[in-house]
Symmetry: C2
Subunit: 377 residues, 2 copies
């Protein structure tokens, strides 16, 4: 399921291959996000052209709309989206806590109201597995509770305890399903480590979750308001607690420099809305030196660094800028043209910016893999 | 410049080749519209894949934004948009009259306020040529005055007189420019016939405009509020008044059945916002029998006919419809998926719908050309 091919001689960074029901994926990798069963502005064929080998979609959103009835009639998420890439789906837990106005936990049931129409829904560890079985996810995540930071220690402990209990329920339930239906295609199941910004709690959570023997492990509960320093400390501390022969996934991270730091701690998988969301607002990621092995970037996750920068195409200074959008797949368009498209509200603006940013992130991952191969990272 | 290849034995429909500085185009053709220097949601490479051989862009919009300063610094419209297809630009007259809150005609100057910022601008026949020279249009249209229908006869006469005077000024001015700068690439100039819904005025206008010996002729002042019957009567009456060895262009028309009727009167060129605008609202054009030579469509320009129909993807009945969007280039996506994308406000919805509709219109033109070749239209 996961082949570990190489450990860097310079850090804990590693190269591998993750095998899924929809093909293999080189690690470390980044997953462009198809929140509502679509990458914003792009077809899957276009995302593949940019170099994506896997995408992420959101259980919560797909569950609420189009809803399981539609998947039952039309087919799974791959068929619905016409996507032949592997798909990881999150557990929906994060959205339940961040998007729902009302939520209540009783026992193992989370009751919440839909952000679409206010209707009441219930999620629990088993149902989250059922939904992801219906979605046909290549990698499913178990239901967890993610606490925003900073948080009271007791809140972090409570979330940890619940996350471990739910993980066990999910694991048992999935094993039962597998025994019942052996012909079903292989769906990997990942556990999620919580523990906030407390090392002892991270250690406890990692111990409890890895004891359940999942196909891979996510470091959850980061990129939720803490400083980069805390995030790096927690990743550096937690990653080695996870088995070396399983893939490690840092959920929802991040800026390019965040990804590099996490890769150096031994993380293999990433997802983030940054490239697509910022593209829609006209913020483009572009290479400067492009040498990702050099230090010199802002550790604050800020807009500029030594080897890349971001530019805001809404800025008037681009009005007559003949520079190409980038020097690779969008070299035929000037920044002046893209500025004009944003000023004019043309849908093509969003598309070209998204192409640029997703391509940048996928190039970043490629640079990372090359650097690990050469022991430069 | 225009090769007339064949006249149908069944109607006045004809086949030809229009030669432009950016290549040749088979007639009859339809021009997808890049109002603000972009086709809504599509790159030029995608429009070409759909079969487009020429596009239209709007002088008025390009003049106001990005404005001539940008074109002077970045290059012409082809360079700005990264477009290697021929581009026809309209004269801007129609938009001055339809989009500007304030406009005033003094002599040959139209003073108007920009819809963007309220700034005052002046257009006149010479300036409209200058702008289109800067845009590098393959086909430029002279400034005309288009009167909405129904209209008082005197208003139609006034517009006709002004249109003829402006056409003469534009023609003289363009000839002078050509003499000054012989190395400039060939830009075709088309005259526009007005005359509203009055046959004698159409005859007068056609006589005055064709006397100026343009590279092609447009029938203007239609699709501006009149019935299909009046439009067909006017096209049927006016087309034969235009020289057979020059291309004929019916501006702003229309529904598929309108285009077919006009082709049968001897019209060669069309443009319309219908396929792209209706796509954005979820209205898709799809073939039923696809036999365009059969009668049986609504002559009202309505939503359905015998050989095609329109479907509204916002309709709940598509929620679980497994039918492909179309059977050609979007067969991998179900109507249920496109319905979901529209419901979710995904930008991909607009893109897929636009691809469908532009492809439909370009397939329609291909069917028309085949039918003329076989003397079936």
């Amino acid at each position: 399921m996961f082949d570990l091919l190489k450990n860097s001689k310079k850090s804990k960074a590693r190269l591998g291959i993750l095998h899924t029901a929809h093909g293999q994926v080189q690690t470390p990798f980044f997953m462009p996000i198809a929140t509502k069963a679509a990458i914003k502005s792009l077809e899957i064929s276009e995302v593949k052209e940019l170099g994506a080998e896997i995408i992420l979609s959101n259980t919560y959103h797909n569950y609420l709309r189009p809803g399981l009835d539609v998947f039952k009639k039309i087919g799974d998420l791959h068929q619905f989206m016409s996507c032949d890439l592997p798909i990881l789906t999150d557990s929906g837990g994060y959205q339940v806590f961040s998007l729902s106005k009302m939520r209540e936990i009783k026992g193992d049931d989370i009751t919440f109201t839909s952000y679409l129409d206010g209707a009441k829904h219930i999620l629990n560890p088993k149902k989250v597995i059922d939904i992801q079985v219906a979605l046909g996810s290549d990698i499913m995540m178990v239901l967890d509770e993610c606490v925003g930071l900073p948080a009271e220690r007791q809140a972090i402990v409570d979330a940890l305890v619940r996350t471990s209990r739910w993980a066990e329920q999910a694991k048992l339930y999935k094993s039962k399903l597998d025994k019942k239906n052996k012909k079903v295609k292989k769906q990997l199941v990942f556990g999620i480590v919580q523990g906030g910004d407390q090392k002892d709690l991270r250690q406890r959570s990692a111990g409890e979750i890895t004891a359940l023997d999942f196909d891979g492990y996510a470091i959850g509960g980061l990129a939720v308001g803490e400083s980069n320093k805390i995030m790096y400390d927690m990743v550096k501390f937690t990653a080695p607690l996870l088995p070396a022969d399983k893939p490690r996934y840092l959920m929802g991270v991040g800026y390019p420099e965040n990804i590099i730091e996490a890769v150096k701690c031994g993380v293999d998988m990433f997802d983030c809305v940054i490239p697509t969301r910022e593209a829609r607002h006209g913020k483009l990621y572009v290479w400067t030196t492009g040498d990702i092995t050099k230090k010199g970037f802002s550790a604050k996750g800020g807009p500029t660094s030594g080897w890349y920068k971001t530019i805001n195409l809404n800025n008037a200074k681009f009005t007559t800028d003949k520079t190409p959008i980038n020097n690779t797949n969008l070299k035929q368009y000037s920044r002046a043209y893209l500025h004009h498209l944003f000023k004019s509200g043309e849908p093509l603006a969003m598309k070209l910016a998204t192409i640029n940013n997703v391509h940048f992130y996928l190039e970043l991952m490629n640079k990372i893999r090359v650097a690990i191969k050469q022991n430069k990272l």
